[in-house]
C-alpha cells in the first residue's frame, strides 16, 4: 500500500457529530424515548399541581421504578435471547409456575426456604434448557415451541396446585420465611426520603449490567450476535450455535424464576395467574430498547430504558388521572413509534439510506 493511496483512503472518513454517533447506537432511541416519556408525565403532573406528590414524589419514583425493575429483569434476559434470533413466550407462565412451586415447597412440604429457592431455580433452568433442546431438535421456530411451553406451564401450574391444595393460590408463605437471611436477599427494602425502594431494583441493575457486559465485552456476546445474524454463518465460523441457544433459553427462564421468587417471598403468596402477559411486556421492552425482532442486532442496556418507558407509562397514567383502561392503547402506540424510530436509526447506522 503506497503512501498516496493511504492518504486518499484516509480522506474518505469524514467527521461526524457526536449526536450522530450517539444515534448510531441501538439503545439511543430508547434513551431519547425514556426522557420524552418522563418529561411528558412530569409536565402533566406539574400542570395538575402535583409537585412533590404522585408522579413527582420520591414514593412515586420508587413505585414506577419497581414496576420498571419487574419487567426490566425479564427484558434484559429476553433481549439477549432475541438478539440471538429466538423468542421465549413461556416466561410469563414460568413466573406463575415457579412461584407456585416455591410456595408449595415451602408451605406444603416444609422445605427450608433456601433449599426451596435452589430447587425452584433448578426447575426453571431445566425447563429453559428443555425449551432450547426442543427448539434445536425439532427445528421449529422458538415462537411455537415456547408457546406450547406457555400453555403447558400455565395448565400444569393450575392442575397440580388444585390437586394438591384444592386451591389456585398458595398463601401463608411469609410465616415460614420470616427472619431468614437468604430470603432477605429477595425482599429487603430501604426507605429513602419517604420512598420505599425495594431490593428488586438492585437485581434489575445487576441484570442489566451483567447482560450488557456479556453482550458487548465477552466472546459469548459476540456469539449471541452471530447466531441471531445468521445461524449458518455462525456455524461456519465455529460458533457453538446450539450451546448459545440453550444457555439463553436457560437465562430467560432463570430471569422469570428470579422475578417469581422475589414476588412470592415479598407478597407471601403464589398465584397461578401471576405473570400473565409478562412475556409480551418483556418482548416489548426489548424491542423498544432497540433489539431487532429478527435478531442479530440490539442492546441489553436499551432494554433497561425500554422497561423504564413501560414502567413509567403504566404508573404515570394513573398518577396523572387518566383511566388505566387506556394503558394498553398508550403502550401499543409507544411500541409502534419505537419500532419506527429504531428501524429508521438502524437503517441509518447500517448505511442503507
Amino acid at each position: 500500500m503506497t503512501a498516496a493511496t493511504t492518504t486518499a483512503e484516509g480522506e474518505r472518513l469524514r467527521r461526524v457529530s457526536p449526536l450522530r454517533l450517539f444515534f448510531s447506537r441501538p439503545e439511543s432511541g430508547a434513551i431519547a424515548g425514556a426522557v420524552i416519556v418522563f418529561l411528558i408525565f412530569g409536565v402533566l403532573s406539574a400542570l395538575r399541581g402535583d409537585i412533590g406528590k404522585g408522579f413527582l414524589s420520591i414514593q412515586g419514583a420508587a413505585s414506577y421504578l419497581e414496576v420498571t425493575a419487574q419487567v426490566g429483569i425479564l427484558g434484559a434476559a429476553v433481549s439477549l435471547l432475541m438478539i440471538a434470533g429466538e423468542f421465549d413466550l413461556s416466561v410469563g407462565s414460568m413466573i406463575g409456575a415457579a412461584g407456585l412451586l416455591l410456595g408449595l415447597l415451602i408451605v406444603q412440604w416444609g422445605v427450608p426456604p433456601t433449599i426451596a429457592i435452589i430447587l425452584t431455580f433448578a426447575f426453571a433452568l431445566a425447563v429453559g434448557a428443555f425449551n432450547g433442546w426442543l427448539r434445536i431438535k425439532t427445528g421449529l421456530p422458538s415462537f411455537l415451541v415456547t408457546l406450547g411451553m406457555l400453555l403447558i406451564l400455565r395448565g400444569a401450574g393450575i392442575g397440580f396446585t388444585r390437586a394438591i391444595t384444592s386451591q389456585t393460590i398458595v398463601s401463608g408463605i411469609t410465616d415460614k420465611t420470616a427472619g431468614d437471611p437468604i430470603v432477605q436477599l429477595f425482599t429487603a427494602k430501604v426507605t429513602i426520603a419517604g420512598g420505599d425502594f425495594k431490593i428488586i431494583l438492585l437485581w434489575w441493575v445487576a441484570a442489566v449490567v451483567v447482560a450488557t457486559w456479556v453482550l458487548t465485552r465477552t466472546r459469548f456476546g459476540n456469539w449471541i450476535f452471530s447466531v441471531g445474524g445468521s445461524e449458518q454463518a455462525a456455524r461456519y465460523v465455529g460458533v457453538p450455535v446450539n450451546r448459545v441457544r440453550i444457555i439463553l433459553f436457560m437465562t430467560t427462564a432463570g430471569s422469570a424464576c428470579l422475578l417469581a421468587v422475589i414476588q412470592v417471598l415479598s407478597f407471601g403468596s403464589a398465584d397461578v395467574l401471576r405473570g400473565t402477559n409478562k412475556e409480551f411486556e418483556a418482548i416489548i421492552t426489548a424491542v423498544v430498547g432497540g433489539t431487532l425482532l429478527t435478531g442479530g442486532y440490539g442492546s441489553a442496556l436499551g432494554s433497561a430504558f425500554g422497561a423504564f418507558i413501560l414502567g413509567t407509562t403504566q404508573l404515570g397514567i394513573n398518577f396523572v388521572g387518566i383511566n388505566s383502561d387506556w394503558y394498553q392503547v398508550v403502550l401499543g402506540t409507544i411500541l409502534l413509534l419505537a419500532v419506527l424510530v429504531n428501524t429508521y436509526l438502524l437503517r441509518r447506522a447500517s448505511g442503507a439510506r
Partner: protein, 337 residues
C-alpha cells in the same frame, strides 16, 4: 485467425512455445525447491477419499477424491452445480460425507463441525462468505475465535486488539479499513470478500480453502489475492482454490481437479494442460468457442446494416463440429463473473 505464436502468451503454462517472463520463471524454479508441487510425493495434508454426498435424491457428490499437499495449490474447477462447494464443505466440517473418508497427514479424521476443522488449522472462505452484516468488521473477523484478556469469569473479548489485527490483515490485501467498528453490511462486496479472505488467511494454519474468492474483486484486488495464494503455498500451506476463472487458476495452480455433475472429471498437474484444454474440461470451451465465432462474425459485419447483422448472427452455426473449433478461447474475456 491468429496462430498461438503471434499472440501475447497469456500464461506460461500454454503448451505453445513462448518467452516466459523472468518473474514467472523465477517463481517456478523457486517452488521446485519447496518440496511441494505436482511431482511431490509428500503425504497430503488434507485428503478426501471416495467421498459421496447426497441431499435427498440429489447426488451432490459421488466417489470424489481430492488431495492437497503442503505447499501445493489444488484448483478445483467445474461448472455451476458441479459440486465444488459441497466438496469443500465436507472438507471444512460443514457436511459430514455420506460415504468415504477424510484424512489429515495420512491419518483418518472425522470433522464433526466447522469448529473441528478450524481447530485442525483448516480455514475456509465460503462462497457466501459467512459474514454477519449487522456486526462490526472486528467482531466479524474474530467471531468464533475471539482473543480474550483477563482471566476466570472476567475474561473479556479484546475489542481493541481484534480491531487492530483485522485492520492490519485487511490492509495486507489492499483494503484500508476506515473504522473497524463499521458494520460489515455497509462494506462493498469486494471489501466483504477481502474480510473473509483475510480472516481465513489469519486462522488457516495448515489448509486454506477458497471458494470463488475473487468473484467480486477488482483486477488489482484479485491479483493481490492470487499473490496471497502463492504466499500461503510458499509458507507450506495446502491451498484448495475454487474459481470459474481459468486466468486465475492457471498462474497459481499446481494441480487441477475437475468436477462435473458431482463426479470427478479429471485431475491434472501443472504443465499437463493449457488454458484451452482447461476451459474445455470445465465445460465452458464449446460455448466460448461459439460465442467467439459469433463475435467474430459481428466484427466482420460492421460494414453491413444492423438488420443484416442480426440475421447473420442467427445464422452462425452452433454445432460443436462446425469450423469454430479453431477459435482461440484465450482471446476472450474471462468466463467468470
Amino acid at each position: 485467425m491468429t496462430s498461438p505464436n503471434d499472440r501475447q502468451p497469456p500464461f506460461p503454462h500454454d503448451t505453445a512455445p513462448f518467452t516466459m517472463p523472468a518473474e514467472t520463471a523465477e517463481r517456478i524454479s523457486a517452488y521446485g525447491t519447496q518440496g511441494g508441487g505436482p511431482e511431490s510425493t509428500a503425504t497430503p495434508v488434507l485428503e478426501a477419499r471416495d467421498i459421496s454426498k447426497y441431499f435427498g435424491r440429489v447426488i451432490a457428490l459421488e466417489h470424489v477424491s481430492l488431495s492437497v499437499r503442503p505447499g501445493e495449490v489444488n484448483c478445483l474447477l467445474g461448472d455451476n452445480g458441479a459440486g465444488k462447494s459441497t466438496l469443500i464443505k465436507t472438507l471444512s466440517g460443514v457436511h459430514p460425507p455420506d460415504s468415504g473418508s477424510l484424512l489429515m497427514d495420512g491419518q483418518s479424521v472425522v470433522l464433526g463441525s466447522p469448529r473441528d476443522a478450524l481447530d485442525r488449522g483448516i480455514a475456509t472462505v465460503y462462497q457466501d462468505l459467512a459474514v454477519l452484516p449487522l456486526m462490526s468488521i472486528s467482531r466479524n473477523f474474530f467471531v468464533g475465535s475471539e482473543p480474550t484478556t483477563g482471566f476466570g469469569p472476567f475474561k473479556q473479548f479484546d475489542v481493541a486488539r481484534a480491531g487492530k489485527i483485522a485492520t492490519d490483515q485487511m490492509l495486507e490485501i489492499g483494503i484500508q479499513v476506515r473504522d473497524p467498528g463499521q458494520l460489515v453490511g455497509t462494506l462493498s462486496g469486494g471489501e466483504r470478500q477481502t474480510l473473509a479472505i483475510a480472516r481465513a488467511e489469519y486462522f488457516g494454519a495448515r489448509v486454506l480453502i477458497l471458494d470463488e474468492p475473487t468473484s467480486a474483486l477488482g483486477v488489482k484486488e484479485a491479483a493481490i489475492v492470487l499473490r496471497h495464494v502463492i504466499r500461503a503455498r510458499a509458507k507450506g500451506l495446502g491451498v484448495i482454490f475454487i474459481t470459474h476463472n481459468v486466468q486465475h487458476a492457471l498462474p497459481v495452480g499446481d494441480r487441477f481437479t475437475i468436477l462435473s455433475h458431482g463426479r470427478l472429471a479429471g485431475e491434472f498437474v501443472r504443465g499437463q494442460v493449457g488454458q484451452d484444454e482447461l476451459l474445455r474440461l470445465m465445460g465452458g470451451g464449446e460455448e466460448l468457442a461459439e460465442l467467439a465465432a459469433e463475435l467474430d462474425k459481428l466484427m466482420h459485419a460492421d460494414a453491413r446494416t444492423i438488420e443484416e447483422v442480426a440475421v447473420s448472427a442467427e445464422a452462425v452455426p452452433t454445432s460443436p463440429d462446425a469450423p469454430v473449433t479453431e477459435v482461440e478461447a484465450g482471446e476472450l474475456p474471462p468466463p467468470g463473473p
